[in-house]
Symmetry: C2
Subunit: 264 residues, 2 copies
């Protein structure tokens, strides 16, 4: 389950690495059922598409649901993330981007770290993103597209954006790369959209330029993203911190839970 | 250059067949230059995206520009189309769908024939669509997606739509399959998006269910589509016919032009 040296080298070079079939079909079913349960909890952590009805994302399920609490501590995710970070970790943010069939809208081309830096006072791009596929990922249901190696460009600066709608959410469109910037980056960093089966996991850098297209297929593309942050690198916000479902406040080092996701 | 029996069998079975590299890079450059010239002719045959500025499509360039006039008669396109149709042909419609980088919007899932039947009195689905790639087609720049073999389903009936905006254009969204219909069709007819280099050609049935996603790449996806119709199957509109740039009126059998696209 641990990443090999080759995996780690690939992560450093490309900014991401894929681990196929880390979770069984039964485990993914369990996670999907837990998501359905947790999405019923009303609150600003549940985000809809622009139609105001279709579920787009659910945040911080690990703070409410025992299955996701355990998932965040499973060796299969926390182990490799620790190898990459070289440090003890806590959960900075957890979300599921649902991208429903025929309805899930695209995500603009962006980097993650700059948002957390500006909005939350995150001191360094030391996070590890862990994306667990809850559905088979094809070229038709809006896979995440990486610009391979773009994490080596560092932070691509832009006008500072602050959250102004009261929920703390920041629309990635507001941090989107311009067409000209993206054209330049793509000249040197090719687009690549890893396809893999449900239960597979992508580990990727918070400096990676990434985006995704609309889901034009009849199949949903639910993607669970856990962002771990090193314990010594906790954010130091200039003012009031954003809500806990966006910026984790439990910053003690996570211990690996060797139990099953589903407790007896 | 002629289709083989295997190609013809594939067209009957799948509803499409791909012929790679039918045109040279120089010829595609010539076509792109001619398109740029022709797109400057103002009129309703030039269609913009919903932003009102970005070029989305240009119709009937073969009626205005000598390069496209010759293209419609080149053996490489007209020859295979005649093999498929088994009849003499004329141009029912010609368009270039531009799908600009970062801007080209998706096309809803639809069939072509039903639109021509309802709007133009087209008597039978005997057309042959010929799509010439003016740009390399990748998974990122909004390739045409076919539902393989869906042409065998015949016409999927829906509420009749008439053009009401004065230009004669009909938004394919108004003929789009519902999510439920599409889910059913995809169960039996897989999505497939042929990737090929510029200068390649897709021949496809007017009964094929097809669509495409947004272009999220920095590369345009210009697609030239010639629709040939058998001479004996000319439309018989109930009322006033739509404008000539949408419904060809020169219905004599095309003769093959064996000259170069670019005359000396």
């Amino acid at each position: 389950m641990a990443l090999t040296q080759d995996d780690l080298d690939r992560y450093r070079r490309d900014g991401f690495v894929v681990q196929e079939d880390l979770f069984t079909a039964d485990e993914v079913d369990l996670l999907c059922d837990a998501l359905t349960e947790d999405a019923r909890t009303p609150g600003p952590q549940v985000v809809t598409e622009s139609d105001g009805r279709t579920l787009r994302a659910v945040y911080a399920s690990h703070l409410r649901h025992p299955v996701f609490h355990r998932l965040a501590r499973t060796e299969r995710l926390l182990g490799p993330a620790r190898q990459i970070a070289g440090d003890e970790l806590y959960v900075h943010q957890m979300k599921v981007n649902v991208k429903q069939s025929f309805a899930g809208e695209r995500w603009a081309w962006h980097q993650d770290y700059i948002v957390w830096r500006d909005a939350d006072g995150m001191p360094a791009p030391s996070q590890v993103n862990v994306a667990l596929l809850l559905d088979d990922c094809t070229e038709f249901n809006g896979p995440v597209i990486f610009l391979r190696g773009s994490h080596t460009l560092g932070t691509l600066e832009r006008d500072r954006v602050t959250a102004g709608d009261g929920t703390g959410h920041i629309d990635p469109d507001r941090y989107a790369l311009s067409p000209r910037e993206l054209s330049d980056v793509v000249e040197r960093h090719e687009m690549v959209a890893p396809k893999a089966g449900r239960g597979s996991v992508l580990f990727f850098s918070p400096q990676m330029v990434h985006g995704s297209n609309t889901n034009v297929s009849p199949h949903p593309r639910r993607l669970l993203i856990l962002t771990y942050n090193p314990v010594p690198q906790a954010p130091r916000p200039a003012g009031e911190p954003r809500p806990e479902y966006l910026v984790g406040r439990a910053r003690n080092a996570l211990e690996i839970d060797r139990g099953l996701l589903k407790h007896a």
